[in-house]
Amino acid sequence: MEQQNNNQPAAVLPRRSRRLATIIPASHWIGIGYSQAQATAMERLQNDMKKYCDGKASHWKDNEINLVGKRRDILPHHDMMLPHWQKLLKTLRTNIDTIKIFNISLPVPVLDIIFPSFQSLNLVHLTLHQTGLGSGGLLKLSSFIKESTSIQNLVIGVATFNLSVASSLSDAIKEHPSLERIGFTQWT
């Protein structure tokens, strides 16, 4: 699955949500074409992000952000989620060294937000599993790896490869100053 969910109807982003990243309820997601399960997952994801922003995600490790979308499938992205990503990344504490994102589509616009923020952290462990990274996303990831001087462990879910992606990843990991472990996975 590549990046943006283009099948979703273009919904008008409520102004308040755009500004404050307020929780958009499942009913709204259903209204714009998401399935019940996807809509529930979208609402839960926003809640999880908010907990991290508010520092209330105490049931997780202090140094870790762990976001899970939908079981088995990739939760499609919608631009209405961008304010939530922005807010989450703006409030990231400097002690965060582990970020794990599972089953959430991360199209290039989201990667453009998250990777610069990740660079400002001393990120040691990054897992991007089932995030629908296409060639554009993987090239962004390669740039991130190359520039990072703290990343040690990397787990990447790659559904598909091409030679230019393989080259850029190879170039990024070669003689890397901090990277020790890299795992490429793929769910079929």
Binding site: G134, S167, H176, F184, T188
Partner: protein, 251 residues
């Protein structure tokens, strides 16, 4: 942007390209890929080139017995790899035997020496006790030996002893010991005794799976052996050379 059309599974060219970058990593993992024999060949070449990588994980990659032959052969020239994880592939008992042979080939003394002594190769979860106790005792011991923090020479000795004592060992023909200097025999017997104790302890934990007395097994073997033949080559230059080499190493 949509890159799906231009993307495909990992083929040998892409595998080669990615592996070119694996120069300083400790762990490299590639899972859930439908690797073909060509890609496995590329990975085998990478293993053969003895890079610094210590752990390679190739789980759920559709690796079959024929792929395993290539990997096993590559392992013989690698001295850096500590783990080759091949869980959840299409490897049968035959393939597992091939992998075990890469770590422990008791066909002859030479084949034992030429085996891989540092890498743990496995096709199942070695951290699960319930799975491990179901594996063949020889296999468990070989994984333990390769995992041991001892010198390669000590590992070879342990494997020789295992081959002499184990039911599946292929060294019952003691002519393999012809080139060994007589002075080494007490050491070999000592190791057998030590090994015997280990096995007795193991038998207490898992009765019926292991031999009770490896030393008595060797005794039976020796009793039927023409002892003069065992030591007839003792004066040969090769045997003396081997002794000198060992002394130098100790220094």
């Amino acid at each position: 942007m949509n890159g799906l059309d231009s993307l495909s599974g990992l083929d040998e060219n892409m595998a080669r390209k990615v592996l070119e970058g694996v120069t300083t990593l400790r762990l490299f993992g590639l899972s859930f890929q439908k690797l073909g024999l060509e890609s496995v060949n590329v990975i085998a070449d990478f293993i053969r080139s003895n890079q610094l990588v210590e752990i390679i994980q190739l789980g759920r990659d559709n690796i079959s017995d024929s792929d395993v032959l290539v990997l096993a052969s590559a392992l013989k020239t690698n001295t850096n790899l500590r783990q080759l994880d091949l869980q959840c592939n299409d490897i049968t008992e035959e393939g597992e035997k091939t992998l075990l042979k890469a770590m422990y080939d008791p066909t002859s003394m030479e084949s034992i020496v030429e085996s891989n002594h540092v890498c743990k190769v496995f096709t199942y979860d070695i951290n699960k006790l319930l799975i491990m106790i179901r594996r063949h005792p020889i296999e468990r011991e070989i994984l333990n030996i390769n995992n041991d923090d001892i010198s390669i020479k000590q590992k070879i000795r342990k494997k020789v002893v295992l081959a002499l004592c184990g039911l599946d060992g292929g060294l019952f023909d003691l002519s393999h010991l012809n080139d060994l200097p007589l002075q080494l025999m007490p050491r070999v017997l000592g190791l057998i005794q030590e090994h015997s104790q280990t096995r007795i302890n193991a038998v207490r934990r898992m009765p019926g799976q292991l031999e009770k007395d490896a030393l008595s097994r060797l005794f039976h073997t020796l009793r039927e052996w023409e002892l003069p033949l065992l030591f007839e080559n003792l004066g040969s230059p090769s045997a003396m050379g081997a002794t000198r080499k060992r002394r130098n190493t100790r220094r």
